[in-house]
Symmetry: C2
Subunit: 206 residues, 2 copies
């Protein structure tokens, strides 16, 4: 086992590299418009390697999506673990926008949606899975507060839609810092347009 030549990686290393490269390419062109050749070429490798590791385009895509979903859900779950409802909201928004900033490719993949999986419409964006989990949180919170639990999904999807849409816009401009953007979104969601502060700030420590 001499010094590792640039070419010829171990199976695990190559696999990891392909996931990274695949995520980047999928992020640029979307699932359909991405060819396995482009991924292979982008990884300085020939096609069959991709097939050996993932069985095909769909396999690689599934792994990329799965990992990204796991990551973003964990990141948000940590953010809303403690604090008052308002603080949790703020931290959730901040966590999501932080994810958008730190992992733009992953966010693009999740936001662009799936390979139109066979039967029926099915929702486009993968973030709906996230939305459903958020919906569960809202449902129980609504019950405790005496609200109609049937309306919980509406608010869950509304919140997810807010951060997703703004996140996509932010990846293009990158102008105000994510913290500043998070301030505005959290203010909108918590106070509403009616009581919008001129200079919103988070209430949470940190």
């Amino acid at each position: 086992m001499a010094e590792r030549n640039a070419r010829r990686l171990t199976a695990a290393a190559r696999r990891a590299q392909l996931i990274d490269v695949g995520r980047a390419v999928f992020a640029r062109h979307g699932y359909e418009a991405t060819s396995v050749e482009e991924i292979a070429e982008s990884a300085k490798v020939s096609k069959p390697i991709v097939y050996e590791h993932f069985g095909g385009k769909e396999g690689l895509y599934a792994v990329v999506v799965d990992r990204e979903m796991d990551y973003v859900v964990r990141r948000i779950a940590e953010a809303i673990a403690t604090g008052s409802p308002r603080e949790r909201l703020e931290q959730a928004v901040l966590a999501f926008l932080g994810y958008v900033k730190d992992h733009p490719d992953g966010f693009a993949v999740l936001a662009h949606g799936a390979p139109a999986t066979s039967a029926s419409g099915g929702m486009s964006s993968l973030l709906n899975d996230v939305a459903e989990r958020v919906g569960d949180v809202f449902t129980s919170a609504f019950k405790d507060a005496g609200y109609e639990p049937k309306a919980a999904p509406i608010y869950a999807y509304a919140l997810i839609g807010m951060v997703t849409s703004v996140g996509q816009w932010w990846t293009e401009t990158r102008k105000p810092s994510v913290e500043e953007v998070a301030n505005h979104i959290a203010a909108l969601a918590w106070m509403g347009l009616r009581h919008l502060p001129k200079q919103p700030t988070l209430t949470s420590r940190r």
Copy 2:
């Protein structure tokens, strides 16, 4: 000019039919995964006709998108023509959700986004164009109200994201009426989670 046989339409009629059919197919599979053959077959016509009328897949898609954009923007513009800020917000949400209900295929096309036009990322969803127009409205309103106009796009994208995301969810469940959903969204956007009413209603007449 006898009674029109089912086959053999006039150029204008065929063109109109192809736009309808194309919108439906694009809505189901997205741009990339849609083949011209499928559109032609779905319209009981052979491929070259599509090419004669629109020059190709992209041409038809462009026409479909353009018409849909025009329609939805006009519909929203009418809704926010008059009233207090709050009433305008409520009517805008209601108008958008009404569009989602009445034109699910058009909404799906707009929500799913574009053919990943060549160079650069570019935003996926076509609704960003709508968002920009909304942003203009917000910018001037913000100036008048003494708010930071730089933050206007944030709120514009947040609002668009809300209704888009909820709209997508609604097309799947179709459970609460659009009016009811609009009540909730408008309440969230105007009052915020802080002062959420138990049973939200619109303030507007009608």
